[in-house]
């Protein structure tokens, strides 16, 4: 040790500086009785100079429990008795609950007296303790979380783990810490341990393996969500990997169940719709065919019947009506011979309206509006003409061929809110509206408009297949048909045509 150079300060200056820095000091005899206390020492310890030789030493004069005071006494004897400097923390009980922490130094003097120096470090020490407690809480939380937490070295040695996954293989954290994952976890857990460590060490980046379906080992059949995160040293080398795995088996199973259920519902709805359709078709055809057969039998029995021409004509009428229904049914179950493609919806609509106008009486007028003359959509041209003619005819009939039919084309529409699309699509729609001034219809009728064989037209005028055919054609291109009854009366039919080919 080199000798310190002589201080330019005198003792008074030094004492004043220590006091201002809140470092207190005192002088005791060799037994620890206080002979002198600085003001800061008095303030911090609430002690003062001893008044008699019988007074207790300073270290017995607080409210600390007696074992602590006894250990202070033996420390004092050990150090001071051997003439040694002591340095350490004094835990000073001002009262039972008011505890201060002093960094203390006691320096024996040649004359047997002792200098005490104390420095109040309570705030710093308590802050450190809070931090330590927080670390402990965090660890406890990690251990108790319903997920697996594992910390590995880059060589896939297990540094820290909770028991969450280990209980599946009948082990605890204690059994595997400081072992290599390959050795202690076995093959079945590779997807949640060293496979992840290897990948993270190789790339140096976090990985999210998504949901991993475990095929082998004690977790076979389970689904885990796995995250791996590198822990870097200062040099940016990976020196550890944190792997967090969450058991998602239940939610995956639930989801699979949901998909299966939706599929089953969809199938049963399809079967139900088919049943309804077959039932309706049978009803229509049997009502047509029954008279046909009955008149044929009459003719066979009495070929010379006076009414034979009438019977034959009834047979013809019933057979042709049945044929008409069959033809329309086939249109509904259309084949893909003419595929839909991009075409100018404006041109087709414009031409169809012109055709309708040519056939319509003068009492009927058509009001066509479109902001553009080039409107490209995905449809089948011939079918679109059929759809529009059908809607224009319905409108004309609803208005008893008198008044104004409004036709409107709008582009860049979102998918119709009221209609379920066959496949929800990522495209905008062209919306053609045909709006009539007829009587409109009740909500009961509205709900059945697209049912096969449902008709509001009297007698022989409708087969009840017009709108179902319209719907069948439009949905075939990935579009939709909807209907509403505007406040001002009448009815509005909307054809939604996808702007792009449905995926």
């Amino acid at each position: 040790m080199t000798k310190a150079s002589p201080s330019p300060l005198n003792a008074e200056d030094i004492i004043r500086a220590f006091e201002s820095a809140q470092v207190g000091h005192a002088v005791t005899d060799s037994d620890g009785r206080l002979k002198y206390c600085s003001q800061v020492f008095k303030d911090q310890t609430q002690l003062k100079e001893a008044r008699s030789k019988k007074e207790d030493p300073w270290f017995l004069q607080d409210h600390a429990p007696s074992p602590l005071q006894k250990s202070r006494q033996s420390l004092w004897r050990t150090f001071i008795g051997r003439n040694q400097v002591w340095q350490g923390v004094v835990r000073w009980h001002l009262s039972e609950n008011n505890i201060r922490f002093f960094e203390g130094t006691s320096i024996p003097l040649p004359n047997g007296d002792v200098i005490l120096v104390i420095n109040d470090r309570t705030e710093r020490i308590e802050a450190k303790r809070v931090l330590r407690n927080m670390d402990k809480i965090q660890q406890e939380v990690l251990v108790d979380l319903p997920l697996s937490v594992m910390l590995f070295t880059k060589n896939s040695e297990i540094v820290l783990t909770n028991d969450y996954i280990l209980k599946h293989i009948g082990k605890s954290a204690h059994d595997v810490i400081n072992t290599k994952a390959q050795d202690s976890l076995g093959k079945g857990l590779s997807a949640l341990s060293y496979d992840v460590v290897k990948k993270v060490v190789k790339t140096g980046e976090s990985i999210d393996s998504g949901i991993v379906n475990i095929k082998k080992g004690p977790l076979a059949g389970q689904h885990w969500l796995v995250f791996g995160r590198p822990l870097h040293s200062r040099k940016y080398n990976v020196n550890g990997v944190l792997v967090i795995s969450i058991d998602r088996t239940d939610s995956v199973k639930l989801n699979e169940e949901r998909v299966r259920f939706a599929e089953a519902v969809h199938q049963s709805q399809k079967i139900e719709a088919l049943n309804d359709f077959a039932g309706s078709l049978a009803h229509e055809l049997s009502n047509l065919l029954h008279p046909v057969a009955a008149y044929a039998r009459l003719l066979a029995k009495t070929p010379d019947d006076q009414k034979r021409a009438e019977y034959a004509s009834k047979i013809n009428k019933g057979t042709m009506a049945a044929g008409d229904i069959l033809k329309r049914t086939l249109t509904m179950a259309r084949t893909d011979k003419n595929e839909a493609k991009h075409c100018n919806i404006y041109d087709i609509t414009h031409e169809t309206i012109t055709t309708a106008k040519d056939l319509a009486p003068a009492s009927l007028s058509y009001d066509f509006h479109s902001s553009q003359t080039e409107v490209i959509g995905f449809a089948q041209e011939g079918e679109l003409r059929q759809v529009l003619l059908n809607l224009l005819n319905n409108a004309a009939e609803a208005m008893a061929y008198r008044g104004r039919i409004k036709i409107k084309i709008e582009t860049n529409q979102p998918e119709p809110a009221s209609v379920k699309l066959r496949n929800p699509q990522q495209t905008r729609f062209i919306k053609i509206s045909v709006i009539d001034q007829g009587p409109g219809f009740s909500s009961k009728i509205k709900s059945r408009l697209f049912d096969p064989f449902f008709t509001t037209k009297p007698g022989d005028r409708g087969t009840g297949l017009g709108l179902p055919v319209v719907k069948g054609l439009v949905t075939g291109w990935g579009g939709a048909v909807s209907v509403d009854t505007p406040d001002g009366g009448g009815a509005a039919f909307h054809v939604w045509i996808p702007e792009n080919m449905p995926s």
């Binding site: 309804d276 039932g279 309706s280 049978a282 009803h283 049997s286 008279p291 009955a294 009459l298 019933g318």
Partner: protein, 126 residues
């Protein structure tokens, strides 16, 4: 011979059944609604009825249910040609449960019609 009521909203069917019955010396009345049918039955105009299941906005089986409750001795035959969600089995089962004497599936032949009508025509005579 007995007077038979035909309840069918399809007039082509009702007319030809009436014609076949008349040629076999029955008399026939036709109607397309349940209300009218009930009125004829309550007045005692008819000896029995042929009832179609799927009527416009009405269910012929509800007339059968009404008869089973109010007039269990009145004899009737159910006719069916199908309809949405109606299998032949369910129609037959329900018709049987209301005490129908016979179930005819359209198109049916004249002999089957006449032998079924013969059965219900006898009920009132006994």
């Amino acid at each position: 011979m007995a007077n038979i009521l035909i309840v069918d909203d399809d007039s082509a069917v009702a007319d030809v059944i009436a014609l076949v019955l008349e040629q076999a010396d029955y008399t026939a009345l036709t109607t397309s609604t349940i209300g009218e049918a009930k009125a004829h039955i309550e007045r005692g105009d008819v000896a029995g009825a042929l009832i179609d299941v799927w009527l416009q906005d009405e269910d012929g089986l509800s007339l059968a249910a009404h008869l089973a409750e109010k007039d269990p001795t009145f004899p009737f035959i159910i006719m069916s040609g199908g309809g949405p969600g109606r299998s032949l089995e369910t129609v037959t089962a329900r018709a049987d449960s209301f005490g129908a004497h016979h179930v005819l599936y359209k198109p049916f032949d004249d002999d089957e019609l006449l032998s079924a009508v013969e059965k219900i025509a006898k009920v009132k005579q006994i």
